[in-house]
């Protein structure tokens, strides 16, 4: 009975829920893409959180500095480019540490998280806070004509995917593209070979080091885009530590999606829905017993849910998720005299 009520309630609030889910899922999905592209090639990256934060800051700083000279539009575009570039450069550092130096990958990621928190906090206090100026502006949302929004049934779904800013809208495209590339292209085959059995890949003439470098840099560029979303599309400002664990939920979404782009995207959507529901339940309280039950679930539980779900999945209680075989193992060419 309660379950039926809950489903009915979900359908009634769906028009409110759908348009905000994609936005909430965007940084998670982009971060998870970073994780998938990295780990499919055998490089563990727990520094996604830090890369996201640092890129968010640099993108914001560029938009903020150029806003008054070149206008809102170009400064935002350059802000996004700066954020993506920051992600790629940090990816290069991670690749150098994990592939060339063969440093411990977890330690390298931890270093990235601490460094990003430190440098952004430092520069924020030094440059942005004292300037007292306004922000870099935000990327606008595409406004659809009312006839389209008003369409029965499909209206909210169209709003979910198209009444969004450019970064959120691009996520679906990137997810599908990477999914196809990963399983249907030469790059994807090489990536998976390097992540599952680097020695075999090396024997067949694939440059393991080059492939891993390429994947880490490319993946981290997506983490940079996630950062740009946070400062330039979602909020229009920068706060210390504003990623607030999203880089770690992205890891969770990746594991939930079993290291596939589409799966990770669905995971991100699910976690986005959990967050959205936690908000909506308090605004539009359902009637009867269901309302009592849903309201009695504290918002914090919705927030903690993605992490707990991930632990359950990892422990194999429901559908075990298994990483690529050579994930996290540095590759060393042997027999070089």
């Amino acid at each position: 009975m309660i379950v039926v009520d809950f489903v009915v309630y979900l359908f009634t609030v769906l028009p409110d829920l759908l348009p905000i889910i994609l936005g909430l899922a965007t940084p998670l999905a982009l971060g998870a893409l970073c994780g998938v592209i990295n780990e499919r090639a055998g490089v563990v990256n727990i520094g996604i959180e830090g890369i996201m934060l640092w890129s968010a800051f640099n993108g914001y700083l560029a938009g903020f500095a150029l806003h008054d000279t070149i206008g809102a539009g170009p400064s935002l575009a350059l802000g996004i480019a700066t954020a993506v570039l920051t992600g790629a450069v940090l990816g290069l550092l991670h690749a150098w540490l994990t592939v060339t130096v063969r440093a411990d990958q977890i330690i390298a990621g931890t270093m990235m998280n601490i460094a990003a928190f430190g440098i952004t906090g430092y520069l924020n206090r030094l440059i942005i806070t004292p300037s007292g100026r306004g922000g870099a502006g935000v990327l606008g949302v595409l406004h659809l004509p009312p006839e389209v929004i008003g369409l029965p049934a499909v209206g909210p779904i169209i709003r979910m995917f198209f009444e969004q800013g450019p970064i959120a809208m691009s996520v679906v495209f990137f997810v599908i593209a990477i999914q196809l590339l990963l399983f249907r292209s030469r790059w994807g085959l090489r990536t998976r070979a390097v992540g599952e059995h680097p020695k075999a890949a090396d024997t067949l003439g694939i440059d393991v080091f080059k492939q891993r470098y390429l994947n880490v840099v490319l993946g981290c560029a997506f983490a940079g885009l996630a950062g740009a979303y946070l400062t330039l599309e979602s909020t229009g400002s920068f706060q210390n530590g504003m990623t607030g664990g999203r880089g770690f939920i992205a890891l969770a979404a990746m594991i939930f999606g079993r290291w596939t782009p589409v799966g990770a995207f669905l995971g991100a959507l699910m976690f986005g829905t959990a967050t959205a529901l936690g908000v909506v339940v308090n605004i539009r309280v359902p009637e009867g017993d269901l309302g009592q039950i849903l309201k009695s679930i504290p918002t914090f539980w919705y927030a903690a849910l993605p992490y707990l779900v991930t632990i359950v999945i990892l422990a194999g209680v429901v559908g075990r998720s298994i990483p690529p075989a050579a994930d996290g193992v540095p590759y060393e060419k042997e027999g070089r005299a």
Binding site: I106, M111, Y122, L123, L126, A304, T310, P323, D327, G328
Partner: protein
């Protein structure tokens, strides 16, 4: 006699050289960051700013008895947290969950401490302290058990627990144990549960407890069968199994003990410094502990010195920010650089032209396993 001292010194330098030089290099590079960033401030380009800033940092950490007290007080949770991470390293485990276990310990100590606020200190203090330690141990046990039982990698489970526990404790302090009479959700005053002050203004009993823990863990690792098992599992779990040990049992036990130490760190900080639990209390200790353990090479004595160093940084930073307006976050930058140089030793070796040392078994044991390799059952 003289030769023996010389030999001992050179052996000590061999182990300590990379950490010491990494720290020195980190301070230099952070200094360059400070100089470069000074160009963007109202005061203009100041090439000598790092000298003044580091001087103030030193004065803030050691300039008076109160300052030294602050340093020791800041170092105490870092010693315990550093031991927690280092102990994990010895068994080949990476406990990133110290931040969460620290919060759990702080929360439990705050709740139990507040409920015993009017009891006598001799009862209240140990009870609250033990409650914190046990909460940390419980939270450390979960990833250890999951790893041993299902192979779920402790790095991922502890990261997830870190984030989840933050929300769950905020819920706890908002809905379950909120003390009446305050404008925001927090636990009640500690009263008699606060750690007694031993010396000066702030040197509480947690400091000697942390020192004691250093030597207890050192004894445990080097003089007991359990310690031998932990180190063997860390060096080679398969060899440990053939020798009749149970790697799964050792892993679970080590994670729980690691969580216990992290919980103690939380309890010390809560009962000795913070005083009440509220959402958003700093879990900085969790990440500082990783740096401390790496810098101390997972060796308890090394951790002692590393914790004192970072304790000094944390204690001295506010004065530096006030007098030279170099933001306190420079400490995080230094910390990240230290980890960077330790992770990529070859940078340090290139800069200081040190030959690669022969691999010492002690150092091999600190290498963690990532999720590609799993412990065979």
């Amino acid at each position: 006699m003289r030769q023996r001292i010389a030999r001992r010194l050179s052996a000590a330098w061999r182990t300590a050289s990379i950490p010491v030089l990494s720290t020195a290099l980190a301070l230099v590079v952070a200094g360059v960051v400070v100089i470069a960033s000074s160009a963007f401030t109202g005061n203009g380009f100041q090439p000598l700013l790092p000298v003044g800033a580091y001087l103030q940092l030193f004065v803030g950490a050691f300039g008076s008895t109160t300052a030294i007290g602050n340093t020791l007080v800041a170092a105490a949770p870092l010693m315990l947290g550093g031991l927690a991470v280092g102990l994990g390293f010895k068994a080949g485990l990476f406990n990133i969950g110290v931040a969460g276990q620290f919060l759990a310990g702080a929360f439990a100590a705050a709740v139990v401490g507040a409920s015993l606020a009017t009891s006598t200190g001799i009862v209240a203090v140990p009870t609250a302290f033990v409650a914190g330690a046990l909460a940390g141990a419980a939270l450390g046990f979960i990833p250890g058990f999951l790893k041993a039982r299902t192979g779920a990698h402790e790095v991922v489970t502890t990261i997830m627990l870190n984030n989840a526990i933050g929300f769950l404790l905020t819920w706890g302090v908002t809905d379950l144990v909120r003390a009446p009479g305050f404008s925001f959700p927090r636990t009640g005053d500690l009263g008699n549960s606060a750690l007694p002050i031993l010396l000066g203004r702030n040197l509480h009993i947690g400091v000697p407890i942390a020192f004691l823990a250093i030597f207890v863990i050192r004894w445990l690792l080097e003089r007991t069968t359990v310690g031998f098992q932990i180190r063997t599992v860390g060096a080679n779990p398969n060899a440990a199994r053939y020798a009749g040990m149970s790697p799964l049992l050792v892993i679970t036990f080590t994670m729980a003990l690691s969580g216990l130490l992290a919980g103690m760190a939380g309890a010390v900080q809560m009962l000795g410094v913070i005083g009440f639990y509220a959402s958003g209390i700093s879990a900085n200790v969790g990440f500082d502990s990783i740096a401390v353990a790496l810098l101390g090479r997972s060796n308890p004595i090394g951790i002692l010195f590393a914790a004192l160093l970072f304790g000094a940084f944390r204690a001295g930073a506010p004065l530096m920010q006030i007098t030279t307006s170099v933001p306190v976050e420079v400490i995080d930058i230094i910390e990240a650089l230290v980890i960077l140089f330790l992770a990529a030793e070859l940078i340090v070796r290139r800069v200081f032209r040190i030959r690669a040392a022969r691999a010492v078994p002690e150092e091999i044991a600190t290498v963690t396993r990532t999720w590609g390799e799993q412990v065979a059952r």
